[in-house]
């Protein structure tokens, strides 16, 4: 464990890391404390979960698009969840349909877009971009991953138990999730869900505290907060959101565990089920919803902020142009983070909550559109008069911006409580959040993988496959989620096994079938990515140290950065990370570790004044050695 920062430097400590003996395989690749290895562990776990979550969506999309279809061919791997009717046609069990929807949501939101995205890139980039040898606590970091791993195992096991995994949707509202009699998915599957999520929260808190501590304490010489890349700002805000909101979910889950197993009545009152009245009285199901959404809403920003951070970096680098409005971007993110805590009840306009509360939350919700809009405008202005290189990462980043805008705009309608009455819990909501947080965040993650792959694995990913992957996915996502808005406007409710029972919803079969086909194509196109990913790790073209001509510190490390990241001294930072295409400079990029005194030809007048301060920065003594 390391104590941090600003200790007077000892003669030997600068190179202390080189004295480490080679670690064995287990310490190096499995129980590793190195942030880069932990990042890769998160990434690969995230990809595995993403594949599983996406395949689940294929199964329930088939049910929704083709309700008459014979599903007997899925019997070999779904077993009893496919029942054969008297004509021998295979039908998906409605309970299993709900379980699939629940697991798809849980997996995608928590395991892929929280652990897989934040876990991967916060771990990988924070030390590399702020100029630190590792995280503040390598041990806690390792613990964070392995607790996440146990949580994953518990969730995975729940898929195979007889009563099936949790089936009350990812929001697990009680009483449905609290009463075993109400739904098979509320039995052991729900218990495992709660255990898994409790572990997940522990892991997420260990990670989050580490990220914040590292950013505050372990920045290299000269790396003041106003020189941090936007990625780091995004990760820090994300971690703060997580630290403050995940504990609330933990308490919600704990109270639910009590209600389920120890006879308490936090969420239960006046219930008659299975022919008998339960003794519980005085609890409130609405209390659970408040607690859940107090995390649940910040959670969507936990998912999207890191993606926006990664995108900022990718867009600036590949436009060969500084990010527009660096400070406005930081303030927007800070604004989004703050507002994220006070908009949760917009998920609850029609739960019977006091209508006045609805008005307050509507007001606050629509305010959050403003900083989000500013971010969108700034990305677009960054492209303006740039010189854009369409690497796969850049394409995905542009895709993200488009999804963020298109999906974000419908939020203006849903955030309006009067309009939400009709649209609440319809496919309009599904379409909205799949674009704005689901697809946008996944695109941010993919942009990140393509962009930082050379630093992670020392090799390049294949561009041609990247383009194919982008185009099929980008078009596919729009084909899936754009028509879904139409279905929502027509009033189709979510979490329906089929709609044919209602005359009102007996239209749009063609549209549903179309969405299903588009979804299947999009999901299977991801095989191109996975192949490219695995292939490139082993046989990809060898990377150079700074393949994108980027400014941030991670590109000053060797091609394969070892333990401690920089073989010698950690570079000192003199300038902001976005000096791309600076007038007068010979090259179109000036890395952060190049002092102003070395670039007199391109310095702006106020920057010449900073040259005097460089000596001061250089004379700071940091103890940057690794302690363990």
């Amino acid at each position: 464990m390391s104590t941090v920062s600003q200790v007077e430097v000892h003669e030997h400590s600068e190179h202390a890391h080189e004295e480490h003996h080679e670690l064995g395989f287990i310490r190096k690749y499995i129980f590793s404390e190195d942030h880069k290895v932990i990042a890769k562990q998160y990434l690969i776990s995230g990809i595995v979960w993403a594949v599983l979550g996406a395949l689940m969506s294929v199964v329930f999309r088939l049910q929704l698009g083709f309700p008459e279809m014979d599903m007997a061919w899925m019997k070999p791997f779904l077993g009893d969840w496919i029942s054969l009717d008297n004509k021998g046609l295979g039908k998906l069990d409605p309970n299993f349909y709900l379980a699939l929807v629940t697991m798809h949501g849980t997996i995608m939101v928590f395991f892929v877009l929280t652990a897989g995205l934040s876990g991967t890139f916060s771990n990988f980039l924070i030390p590399l971009q702020i100029g630190a040898r590792d995280m503040a606590s390598g041990f806690m970091n390792m613990l964070s991953y392995w607790i996440f791993f146990i949580s994953s195992v518990v969730m995975f096991v729940s898929l195979f138990i007889k009563t099936g995994p949790a089936g009350g949707s990812w929001v697990i509202y009680p009483p449905l999730s609290a009463l075993k009699e109400a739904n098979p998915g509320s039995g052991d599957g729900m218990t495992l869900w709660l255990v898994s999520m409790a572990l997940f929260i522990v892991s997420s808190l260990l990670g989050g505290i580490n990220y914040v501590t590292t950013v505050i304490n372990l920045r290299t010489k000269g790396m003041s907060m106003d020189k941090l890349p936007l990625t780091i700002w995004a990760f820090t805000f994300t971690a703060i959101l997580g630290i403050l909101s995940f504990p609330v979910l933990l308490s919600a889950a704990l109270l639910l565990i009590f209600d389920r197993s120890f006879g308490t009545s936090f969420y239960l009152s006046d219930i008659y089920i299975n022919g008998q009245a339960l003794p519980n009285q005085g609890g409130s199901p609405i209390l659970f919803q408040h607690l859940f959404w107090f995390l649940g809403h910040p959670e969507v920003y936990i998912v999207i902020l890191p993606a926006l951070g990664l995108t900022s970096e990718v867009i600036a680098t590949n436009s060969r142009k500084p990010i527009f409005g660096y400070k406005a971007m930081i303030f927007s993110m800070a604004g989004i983070m703050f507002l994220a805590f006070i908009v949760w009840a917009h998920h609850m306009f029609v739960t019977g909550m006091n209508p006045f509360l609805g008005s307050v939350f509507m007001l606050l919700t629509l305010i959050i559109a403003v900083p989000s809009a500013v971010k969108g405008f700034n990305y677009i202005t960054t492209l303006w008069k740039g010189n854009i290189i369409f690497t796969p990462a850049m394409l995905f980043a542009i895709g993200l911006v488009s999804f963020f805008i298109s999906g974000g705009l419908t939020g203006i309608i849903l955030g309006n409580s009067a309009l939400d009455i009709q649209l609440h819990d319809t496919y309009f909501v599904v379409a909205h959040f799949h674009l704005v947080m689901g697809s946008a965040a996944i695109f941010g993650m993919l942009a990140g993988v393509y962009h930082w792959f050379p630093k992670m694995f020392g090799r390049m990913m294949n561009n041609a496959m990247g383009y194919i992957h982008f185009w099929i996915t980008f078009i596919g996502v729009y084909l899936v989620f754009f028509p879904m808005h139409y279905i929502g406007i027509a009033g189709f409710p979510r979490r329906y096994y089929q709609w044919s029972g209602f005359e009102t919803f007996n239209t749009y079969m063609d549209l549903n079938a179309f969405i299903t086909i588009a979804a299947i194509i999009t999901v299977f196109a991801q095989a191109v990515f996975i192949f490219n990913f695995v292939y490139s790790i082993f046989w990809g073209k060898k990377a150079s140290a700074n393949p994108w001509k980027s400014n941030t510190l991670e590109w000053t490390t060797p091609i394969n950065p070892g333990h401690g990241n920089w073989p010698g001294e950690i570079p000192t930072v003199y300038r902001w990370p976005y000096d791309y295409s600076k007038p007068g400079a010979p090259d179109d990029f000036i890395p952060q570790n190049v002092p102003y005194s070395a670039t007199p030809e391109s310095n702006l007048p106020e920057e010449n004044e900073l040259i005097a301060a460089e000596k001061e920065i250089n004379s700071i003594k940091y103890d940057t050695s690794l302690h363990d």
């Binding site: 014979d70 061919w73 709900l98 509202y173 009463l179 006046d270 219930i271 008659y272 089920i273 022919g275 009245a277 500084p322 527009f324 739960t351 019977g352 509507m362 007001l363 629509l366 809009a373 500013v374 405008f377 677009i380 202005t381 008069k385 740039g386 010189n387 290189i389 369409f390 394409l395 542009i398 488009s402 805008i405 203006i412 309608i413 309006n416 009067a418 309009l419 009455i421 009709q422 819990d425 050379p454 294949n462 041609a464 496959m465 383009y467 028509p483 139409y486 027509a490 409710p493 329906y496 209602f502 009102t504 086909i517 299947i520 095989a527 191109v528 192949f531 060898k542 150079s544 994108w548």
Partner: protein
């Protein structure tokens, strides 16, 4: 379908192999010259322009697709509003929709246009442009003003919809359970609901709604588990409850949605302004019916929680109400739940024939009395 998926799978496998073999040939060519530390591997490749142009072309095709699909599918958007507040929310929905569609087209156009215009060209000089406070102020205030406008219109409508129901509103007790709805009316004689208590719920004993028969107001209450009738042009107040898990009353045509929560009664009031007959005539569908659905996940048959809604002309509605049999008439055994001192009053409802109603009271009462006195001893 299976075949379709198989074909898709094959297409993708073939595609993957093509890409792989192509990649390998490229890689073989490259491996001859070792990569240098400082090589610029991210330099724009020969597909760069195609990608930039592609994004813009994608957008142009999208515009056509969006307009076309909107026109084709518009007919089923927002099923014809049949309530007064529904017309208002529909109006604001389309106003907001126009606002966001303008934003959608403008902003996406800039995004894809810039991708096309500023695709890499080695002769282009990039404009070093880090910030512009005026621009930031403009695009902070413009969305803020638009938002403020939408917020105020929304607040006004929301406050109106959620205000207290008028005193003359027709009240209906609607209860969700796995998996169906039951509605209860206050009855034609006293027009007062009897109390209910979840501890009195008894499916086997014929009291699924937990009506408290010690409250004389309950005697003329009647219930229905397949249809809900409401009068046209008169405020209707739904008193919503659930008895097992969360449910949500959703009447798509009425723009009504409110959760049903065990232990916490909720409400929603509205005025239907088109009767079922009006809608049948208007849509030209003689078999049209209003429907009530559930929109809060409640278990296996969530998708099947349907209740028919019939909107009658006020006179027909009153007639319908009179034709309904009170709970006590439907199930005379419920008389056992009525306390002795009210039995006489309740007896009026236990039989449909008034003559018999006069003959039976003593018998039933004495037998019940006899039993209870035994118990008391």
């Amino acid at each position: 379908m299976t075949i379709l998926i198989a074909i898709l799978a094959i297409v993708f496998i073939v595609l993957t192999f093509m890409v792989v073999s192509k990649t390998q040939s490229i890689l073989k060519g490259l491996s001859k010259s070792e990569v240098e530390e400082s090589e610029y591997l991210g330099a724009p490749d020969r597909y760069n322009s195609a990608n930039g142009v592609g994004l813009f072309v994608f957008w142009l095709i999208s515009i056509v697709g969006i307009v076309w699909s909107f026109i084709v599918y518009k007919k089923d958007f927002l099923p014809e509003a049949s309530s007064i507040h529904g017309k208002e929310t529909d109006y604001w929905f389309w106003v907001s929709m126009i606002v966001i569609m303008i934003g959608f087209f403008i902003v996406n156009t800039f995004l894809f246009l810039f991708s096309y215009l500023y695709r890499h060209n080695k002769n282009r000089k990039v404009t070093f442009y880090t910030h512009n406070n005026n621009l930031e102020i403009i695009w902070t205030t413009v969305p803020a003003i638009v938002m403020a406008g939408l917020v105020f219109s929304g607040l006004r409508v929301w406050t109106k919809i959620t205000s207290e129901a008028p005193a003359n509103a027709e009240q209906i007790d609607i209860m969700g359970k796995q998996f169906g709805w039951t509605v209860r009316y206050a009855g034609v004689d006293d027009n007062q609901f009897g109390k209910y208590n979840y501890k009195l719920m008894d499916d086997a004993g014929g009291n699924p709604m937990g009506v408290d028969f010690s409250d004389p107001n309950s005697f003329d209450d009647f219930a229905n588990a397949s249809e809900m009738h409401i009068p046209k042009g008169k405020p209707v107040l739904l008193k919503i409850r659930a008895r097992d898990v969360l449910h949500s009353v959703f009447i798509p045509h009425m723009r009504v949605k409110m959760d049903a929560v065990p232990g916490m009664p909720t409400k929603f009031w509205f005025v239907a302004d088109k009767s079922t007959a009006d809608m049948r005539a208007e849509l030209g569908k003689p078999e049209f019916n209003y429907e009530i659905a559930c929109t809060e996940i409640c278990g296996r048959s969530h998708f099947g929680m349907k209740l028919l809604l019939v909107v009658d002309e006020p006179a027909d509605y009153e007639k319908w109400k009179k034709s309904q049999k009170p709970l006590l008439t439907e199930n005379p055994d419920l008389l056992n739940k009525v306390p002795d001192n009210l039995k006489a009053k309740a007896q009026k409802y236990t039989s449909t024939e008034p003559v018999a109603a006069e003959a039976t009271p003593e018998v039933v009462a004495s037998s019940v009395l006899g039993n209870s006195s035994k118990v008391l001893k």
